[in-house]
């Protein structure tokens, strides 16, 4: 295949871009500083298309498509912002706020939380759907880390980083629907997990205050993610 056919040209928000054919709309948008909101996506991990925040409009397609998994195509015309997309994204984010107990003011991740900052970026000043107030567990059995299910948005970044990068697969999702939860091993206290290596990758990829280090108080939990591109890069080198 000639290198020319590997390059696709497309329009994003009316501007012309070219991209490799294996790139996603989200990747192209990010390279070109076009903002598309995301939550479940994290560079260096596989994509799942689950949070639906990155839905975009594509000319000629009735359905909205998630930018994180949709590959570029020749002549594609993508719209990343519209009144309709804005409305849907806000609603989805609001639904997340109603799902569990996100009390920002007393959260370890206050001011460093992706859910919180995205809400501000999308100009959400209140949640118009009724809150659910479920009873959610806080598991502090691990010597160094805590999982607070109240803050979990089920993005599954922890599951993916543990499986794909650390290789332990300590985390997974149990149950289904509104009752789904992330668990360690056979839904046992994290501290008693036989498979957890204690590497802390899950803690640092978590977008909210669901996973945090012990000893952090309100607004004190800063997450470091730089290990992900580093590990990805080093592994590419090794392959």
């Amino acid at each position: 295949m000639s290198p020319v056919s590997n390059i696709k040209t497309l329009k994003i928000d009316g501007k012309d871009f070219s991209a490799r054919q294996d790139e996603t709309i989200l990747e192209v948008a990010r390279q070109n500083k076009i903002f598309i909101p995301t939550l479940c996506d994290l560079r260096g991990l596989s994509t799942v298309g689950a949070c639906r925040m990155c839905l975009v409009e594509i000319k000629g397609t009735a359905k909205l498509l998630p930018a994180c998994v949709t590959r570029v195509e020749e002549g594609m015309e993508v719209t990343t912002t519209s009144e309709r997309l804005d409305r849907y994204r806000k609603s989805i984010l609001e639904l997340l706020f109603t799902e569990r107990n996100h009390i920002c003011s007393v959260c370890v991740s206050n001011a460093h939380c992706e859910l919180q900052s995205l809400a501000q970026r999308l100009q959400i000043t209140h949640v118009h759907f009724p809150y659910r107030y479920p009873k959610a567990q806080v598991d502090g059995s691990h010597p160094r880390f805590v999982i607070d299910q109240n803050r979990c948005i089920l993005c599954t970044r922890c599951v993916r980083v543990c499986e794909e990068i650390e290789g332990a697969h300590t985390w997974d999702v149990m149950g289904r629907g509104i009752d789904a939860n992330v668990i360690t091993d056979l839904n046992q206290p994290w501290g008693s997990s036989e498979t957890c290596t204690g590497c802390g990758k899950c803690v640092h990829v978590c977008p909210t205050g669901a996973l945090f280090e012990k000893g952090r108080s309100v607004a004190e939990m800063l997450k470091r993610r730089n290990f992900l591109p580093y590990l990805t890069l080093m592994r590419e080198e090794r392959d």
Partner: protein, 546 residues
């Protein structure tokens, strides 16, 4: 196995059958079995033995005869159909074989329920013993496979299916021929065939019935599909809740393998096909292709975004063809009679027949097969015999949790994919539930939303949280504590889920709500504004039971 050998088996079988002067067919499909039809069959066997009639009269367990409500059903070779048969009736029925049928048990067959049906998928149901491959072979079974293997090329087979105009019977109605040709063209060393028998819609039992009544027909369809697309391995994903269907499928697979119709070098050709069962474990979302694939792979049945489509990247990452039971069941007749023949049945865009599970507030509940394009009125009032107890028709629900409720004004609408979709419902897999004025449409909408909420896999946010929120809102409406802004929020969520959910389950979950909001707005209004339930359903159930 060669075509000649197959023909020989068929001949022998027909010869054996012809030796009997009389035949009594007892329905042994799940519906009649739950009315003790097995004991009826045993009684016939015993009575025939007592009379020393073993060479004169055959008693045979067969599949579904359709009119499940009147079971146990028994038919005789002389053409009589008996209903509500008990073990005690066996002698009397045998006595009457040479004379007039037993009038007190006779079920009339000159009525629209039987006359208006057109049987292609169900042509063998109620006639052949599903546990004997010879009977299937005796009624032209596996003839289409032979023809395909000896006379046709894979592209010709695909072409025949394209010509037939057959569309997927699982719900969405995607053109089957197109799907086949995509998989056939897909590059891949290994390709897979999957039969979706995880009949998920509550209120639908077409697939169960076909598997219990004529399992070989499904195997033959899968074999032809495998040949057409170049696959050598297949799975039947069947609900664990259907033990009888599983048992009969296992028997059928064993028998077909024994005759060399399944396995390696089928019919002496280079074509090989192995099939195995995978049991579904109670997840409606596994009706969605990518979720089903995940489940066959032994994982949580969560869907993933498409593309890539299973036709390109499916089971174990290989090109995979997924069709449902009824779709495969149509294949053998299409090959036997030609795509041209099939395309002459039905409407311009919806070809062939469709099996419906007719249930709810209708006189003749059971399984019916009708040509596409027939009107809802014909199904409900002619075939179904109308509404019992002198009540009034209110709505018919098609498509299960992904479908909608259609009011009386649509009774004369033809039943085809496009018309149903235009009216705000879907064809779905074929469940058809009739409702009368004793059903509250808000309550029905809540029933389906509760279903979708429970069945949501939880992967994507709009479906996971949205179905919960909608269910809560509907609960408030049925409890009559909702306000007009709640109704607006309900509509807002309908729009959100439809447009942003990851898979078909979430995208179509609002359908029952939207269709009832559209056609039964006054019922919602009564609950919200006047705080009353016109059908008297909401809020009374607890009192009724205690």
């Amino acid at each position: 196995m060669t075509p000649e050998e197959l023909e020989q088996i068929a001949e022998e079988e027909r010869g054996t059958q012809a030796q009997f002067l009389h035949r009594v067919n007892v329905c042994l499909a799940a519906g009649c079995i739950s009315c003790q039809s097995q004991s009826v069959k045993d009684a016939f066997d015993k009575e025939i033995a007592n009379r020393g009639w073993q060479r004169k009269c055959q008693s045979k367990g067969v599949g579904c005869m359709g009119l499940c409500a009147e079971g146990p059903l028994v038919s005789t070779a002389q053409g009589a159909l008996y209903q509500h048969v008990t073990a005690a009736d066996a002698g009397e029925i045998l006595d009457a074989l040479d004379s007039e049928p037993v009038s007190r048990l006779v079920c009339r067959t000159d009525v629209p329920f039987f006359q208006r049906q057109k049987k292609i998928v169900l042509e063998n149901s109620g006639l052949v013993d599903p546990e004997r491959i010879e009977e299937y072979v005796g009624s032209s079974g596996y003839g289409a496979l032979m023809r395909v293997l000896t006379e046709m090329t894979p592209p010709e087979v695909v072409q025949e299916v394209v010509k037939s105009g057959l569309r997927g019977r699982g719900g969405a109605g995607y053109p089957t021929g197109l799907k086949w040709s995509t998989v056939a063209k897909a590059a891949g060393q290994h390709k897979y065939i999957i039969c979706n028998a995880d009949e998920g819609d509550p209120g639908a039992f077409m697939d169960r019935s076909v598997l219990e009544s004529d399992p070989h027909r499904v195997l033959e369809g899968m074999l032809i599909a495998a040949f057409a697309v170049g696959a050598s391995e297949g799975y039947i994903y069947v609900r664990a809740e259907y033990p009888l269907a599983i048992k009969r499928l296992r028997t059928a697979i064993r028998q077909a393998e024994r005759l060399g119709l399944l396995g390696s070098s089928i019919c002496g050709t280079r074509f090989s096909f192995h099939v195995d069962l995978r049991l579904g474990a109670g997840a409606f979302v596994c009706g969605e292709e990518t979720a089903l694939i995940a489940s066959v792979e032994g994982k949580r049945g969560t869907p993933r975004p498409r593309p890539p489509y299973p036709a390109q990247q499916g089971l174990f990452g290989e090109p995979t063809l997924i069709n449902n039971v009824e779709t495969y069941a149509n294949i053998a007749p299409i090959i036997r009679h030609g795509g041209e023949w099939y395309s002459q049945i039905g409407t311009e865009k919806s070809k062939g027949t469709k099996v419906f599970a007719l249930a709810g507030r209708v006189l003749n509940t059971g399984l019916v097969e009708v040509p596409m394009g027939i009107s809802l009125r014909d199904i409900v009032f002619e075939i179904g015999g109308g509404i019992p107890e002198g009540r009034c028709f209110k709505a018919v629900q098609t498509g299960g949790p992904s479908g909608g409720c259609l009011p009386a004004e649509f009774l004369d609408m033809p039943v085809d994919y496009e018309s149903l979709a235009k009216a705000g419902s879907i064809m779905g897999s074929g469940g058809m539930i009739v409702m009368d004025e004793t059903s509250c449409m808000v309550d029905v909408a809540k029933y389906f939303m509760d279903f979708c909420m429970t069945e949501s896999c939880g992967k994507c946010v709009p479906c996971r949280v949205g179905t919960y929120q909608m269910n809560e809102l509907l609960a408030r409406i049925t409890e009559r504590t909702a306000t007009p802004p709640d109704l607006a929020m309900l509509e807002e969520l309908c729009d959100l889920l439809r447009n942003t959910s990851l898979c078909g389950l979430g995208q179509s979950a609002p359908n029952p709500v939207m269709s009832t909001l559209r056609y039964f707005a006054d019922e919602y209004k009564a609950h919200v504004e006047e705080k009353r339930c016109p059908a008297g359903v909401c809020g009374n159930q607890a009192e009724e039971a205690s």
